[in-house]
Symmetry: C2
Subunit: 205 residues, 2 copies
């Protein structure tokens, strides 16, 4: 397709598409003349990925570049690449070197504790915030949350699309994190309302 | 305790405490003289709630006021009050009047569909964002996510602290939403890494 059609199908403006081309976020099209090029599905897909990261996840362009760089050049260690890509997503916990609350929780859940995983700092800060607000998280709740989140993660990994390429796996992991997290939180809030209503009805009836 | 001790124990500065008193976010202490007052546990607790809402949930003060108002004057319809309080938390989906994707999902899950619940707009926007990024959510995933989030919500409602007062119930619902959501998302990211690693090890071994 021509660049005008790429603009139309993606909903991304022409100046923005040209900017992404200059910045290397969008690969060049196949040249079909001195001033024209042909674009395809992969260009459209790339624009959708950039849009999801900027508009939905709210990432600044510098972070989008990091992620696109990892998708384009995933390297040999897929786990390290996936970790780096997910780490570029919000939130941005500041590393503190020691994560006593997160360590206690992960040890309790029988999970590996690697302080270099940014999600460890994220867990530490969220546990600290809850504790400071006087909303402690007791062992029962940790066990339940850990078990339930593990079920969710098992489902996610069982249903990874067959990615023959590392690039596709990195792209899917980033989008699945950035885009499914808001779906899950909305479903939890709606389930709270649903169950509260069912229980009120049962109490009334 | 005196105001100086309140400042020390809460970690909130004296000018900020005075500002909250003027704005009615913090109730006055019991007067013990022309220029002194006595503060107690409920003042400390209130400061922790405000801190969680501003620092962790990132709420602007206008939203904090709405929530504190609902905690202080919860009204007769507890479900409506809870809904209004949760609705003051981020994200802020713009209501569009029609939520075809959310309606289909909630119907499929056998849940009540009330377009006035802000979480319905939140679900619609997150489903739309995923679809636009080419990351559709098929029925299998909806069923799994719905079932798993329902387990989580059942646990939450089974473990509500015994709230004799409506105010305490509203406060707990708001804090439990704002502070446990980040914990859950961190646990999901860590479970992904854990399971991916277990599977790689099993494949290597």
């Amino acid at each position: 397709m021509r660049i005008s059609q790429l603009v139309e199908e993606s909903g991304v403006s022409l100046p923005t598409v040209k900017f992404y081309l200059r910045e290397g976020l969008l690969p060049s099209g196949a040249s079909t003349g001195a001033r024209s090029a042909e674009y395809g599905e992969r260009h459209l897909r790339r624009l959708r990925v950039i849009k999801a990261l900027t508009d939905v996840a709210g990432l600044p362009l510098a972070r989008v570049k990091v992620i696109i760089g990892l998708i384009d050049r995933p390297g040999d260690d897929l786990m390290a690449t996936l970790g780096a890509a997910i780490a570029a997503l919000p939130p941005d916990p500041s590393p503190t070197g020691d994560y006593p609350r997160a360590r206690a929780v992960l040890t309790r859940l029988g999970q590996v504790y690697d302080p270099d995983y940014p999600a460890v700092a994220q867990l530490e800060q969220s546990l600290l915030a809850a504790a400071q607000a006087g909303l402690g998280i007791d062992d029962d709740r940790i066990d339940a949350y850990g078990r339930i989140m593990r079920q969710l993660a098992e489902f996610d990994l069982d249903h990874l699309p067959l990615a023959r390429e590392r690039s596709a796996a990195v792209e899917h992991a980033v989008l699945g994190t950035a885009l499914y997290e808001p779906v899950l939180l909305a479903l939890r809030r709606l389930a709270h309302q649903q169950i509260a209503m069912e229980r009120l009805d049962a109490a009334d009836g």
